[in-house]
């Protein structure tokens, strides 16, 4: 990129930050529209919103405007400063996640060497935000939701990270661009035409990652913190207007980010067969390819969300500690053995 335009560092950073900030609401908009409005509707034999804009595409913009023009209220007993900071903390963790998502060989905000490690670390910040929301709302339902969230999100961090370890062992690097390159240049039994997307060998890892991601996003079947029919909204029950919009955007932005991580680690990221890893053309095609793969993974996440009932908190914990973690440990051991042997 620096050969095409001679940019000073701060100009480059400003452009990257601007693009990232613009991308986040757009991506949540795309996900919300396609999956929450339309796919959920089709699965329920109805049409979703279809009046605002062609096929209802402007519905989220209308909803955003609706949220923005609402009164900014908070419960009288609520701890005001914490109450106000909580959605910001959750959204901040989403923004920080987008820093390492690659959309092309050079289209990345910051190519950190500890890419995936940083992503995992930053995504667990949202637990703090949810706990803050649950406690500061001065509402028993919110408190129950916040505490459940704390238990659940911490429990499912472990399978998430352990599932990623398998990929890291196989790629040999924590750097996300490096993982994409490893899949692009890898070979399946000597045949290099489609590279070596890690889904072929790490299918158990993908399975665990998707389940853990579902839990991290507090989507059904793991949506105890926001169990609508029990806690009427859980930790975000007292939030309306703009602050709720922040939670909402954070939820779908994080869903996009996790799907992006999954497609980078398991499906080959921005690389498609037929191109060289350093091709400049991939900087333009890459975002489109990534979008396609992300939509595929997000489809799986939301399909499961709309179909299944939710697990109870103790069953959820049992599932994580007694099933997912041992499975992911076995996965790591097998991956390590195969990596050394072959």
């Amino acid at each position: 990129m620096n050969e095409l335009l001679a940019l000073v560092y701060w100009q480059e950073t400003a452009i990257k930050l601007g693009v990232a900030l613009a991308v986040i609401p757009t991506t949540s908009l795309i996900l919300v529209y396609l999956f929450l409005f339309k796919m959920m509707a089709f699965m329920q034999s109805r049409l979703g919103p279809n009046d605002t804009g062609p096929y209802g595409s402007l519905q989220l913009i209308a909803e955003a405007i609706k949220f923005l023009q609402k009164e900014d209220i908070h419960p009288s007993q609520a701890d005001r400063r914490v109450f106000r900071m909580a959605p910001v903390v959750v959204l901040a963790s989403t923004f920080l996640l987008y820093v390492v998502l690659p959309a092309g060989p050079d289209a990345i905000v910051e190519n950190l060497d500890t890419g995936i490690f940083y992503a995992m670390a930053v995504s667990s910040l949202s637990v703090l935000g949810i706990l803050m929301a649950g406690w500061a709302s001065a509402n028993k339902y919110a408190l129950l939701g916040g505490l459940r969230a704390a238990g659940q999100l911490i429990a499912y961090e472990l399978p998430l990270i352990l599932a990623v370890m398998g990929v890291v062992i196989q790629a040999g690097t924590l750097n996300l661009q490096g993982i994409v390159v490893a899949q692009a240049t890898g070979e399946i039994f000597g045949w290099g035409a489609i590279g070596h997307p890690f889904i072929l060998t790490q299918f158990v890892g993908l399975f665990i990652f998707l389940i853990a991601a579902q839990a991290e996003l507090t989507q059904t079947p793991f949506d105890m913190p926001v169990a609508e029919t029990e806690l009427v909204g859980g930790f975000h029950i007292e939030y309306t207007g703009f602050r709720f919009l922040l939670f909402f955007m954070a939820e779908f932005g994080t869903a996009f980010a996790f799907s992006a991580l999954a497609s980078v680690m398991f499906l080959g990221g921005w690389w498609i067969p037929g191109f060289d890893v350093d091709d400049n053309i991939l900087n333009i095609l890459g975002p489109g390819v990534m979008l396609g793969k992300i939509l595929l993974i997000a489809f799986l996440i939301f399909w499961v969300r709309f179909t299944y009932p939710r697990l109870r908190e103790d069953q959820l914990q049992k599932f994580a500690w007694k099933f997912l973690i041992p499975l992911s440990l076995v996965n790591i051991v097998l991956t390590g053995v195969f990596k050394v042997v072959f």
Binding site: Q44, S45, M224, P309, L311, Q315
Partner: protein, 390 residues
Amino acid sequence: MTATSDQAQRAYVAAQAADARVNVELDTGDMTLNIGPQHPATHGTLRIACQLDGEQVIMAEPIMGYMHRGYEKLCEVRTYPQCTTLINRIDWLGSFANEVPFILAAEQLMEVEAPPRAQWIRTILFELSRIANLALFLGDMGVQVGALTPVFFAFRDRERVLNQIEAATGGRFHPNFDRIGGLKDDLPKGWIDETRAVMAKMRGFCDEMEDLLVGNEIFQTRCRGVGVIPADVALGYGLSGANLRASGVDWDLRRDANPGLAWNEIDWRVWTHPDGDSFARYWVRLQETREATYMVEKLLDGLPGGPIMAKVPRIIKVPAGEAYVSTENPLGEMGYYVVSKGDLGPFRVKIRTPSFNNISIVPWVMKGVYVPDVITILGSLYFILGDIDR
């Protein structure tokens, strides 16, 4: 006891003991939570005041009356046709089924019997109300445990049954079709074939619910062993309907105390389940819905011709006396105790509603369950607020 195995019982007791040890060491306080009158899971305005220890319920008490509309008092100052209109609205999902016991009680006092065609059509509409009511339950239980999609299928397929009821009676939710001595009008042309087609579609719906919910492992994990009600406790608290049958008690008023409708003319079976847990209640109602579709088809096959109204005077004055008739409504046993003094309207009507007794078991069954289980159990007991509060 009931179906949970010995090993599971021991594991549960051990877990409780472990919890008790932790609680003694931590010495935490209790929290009062109102699963309040405004809540998406209590079908209407029911308030359950829970005393929680962490997420476990120590004590739960249902507080009803938020929707009391004074039906028994209203009926004292109305004539019989006007009462029929009002009592449609007690259990608003099982519409036609509300009118039947009242009309039967009045017919008993007048010593009038409706002609066979009227009795058969009454039974058909009764079973259609049962299907409409239980179809909503099948979807709604999914919502209580978190699955958002089945309830849409429930509404979509229940719509067909409501269309059939509307085609015959003119009202989807409040048919107001039963009259002392028979029915208001006869069935329109083509209704029988349409209803047969609708019954086939409802069976498809039951199969879909079986795939989506009954077979779903998550649903089973949420519902099996939750809210176990042994048979003697159920009988002691006066549960009725599917709640009783799911605890293993083989009791169905349609077969055991038939007040004159056409259930004895066809053969059908009563479904029971030995566990008394939430899953059993769901399963029994699913089978009952299927059975009801078969019953409607058999009734349509055997529908006799004839008049639909017996000879009754134009202005009906029911002779003095008392009569109590109860029928197996979709929610349970619904009965009307009609006291008449020979006027145009009843002197006093006492309405025995199934949901009122069904939720009396809430304090007993909620001891020691988790908050999510509270919602599951409430959902599986299946009450309608209009039925509790009248």
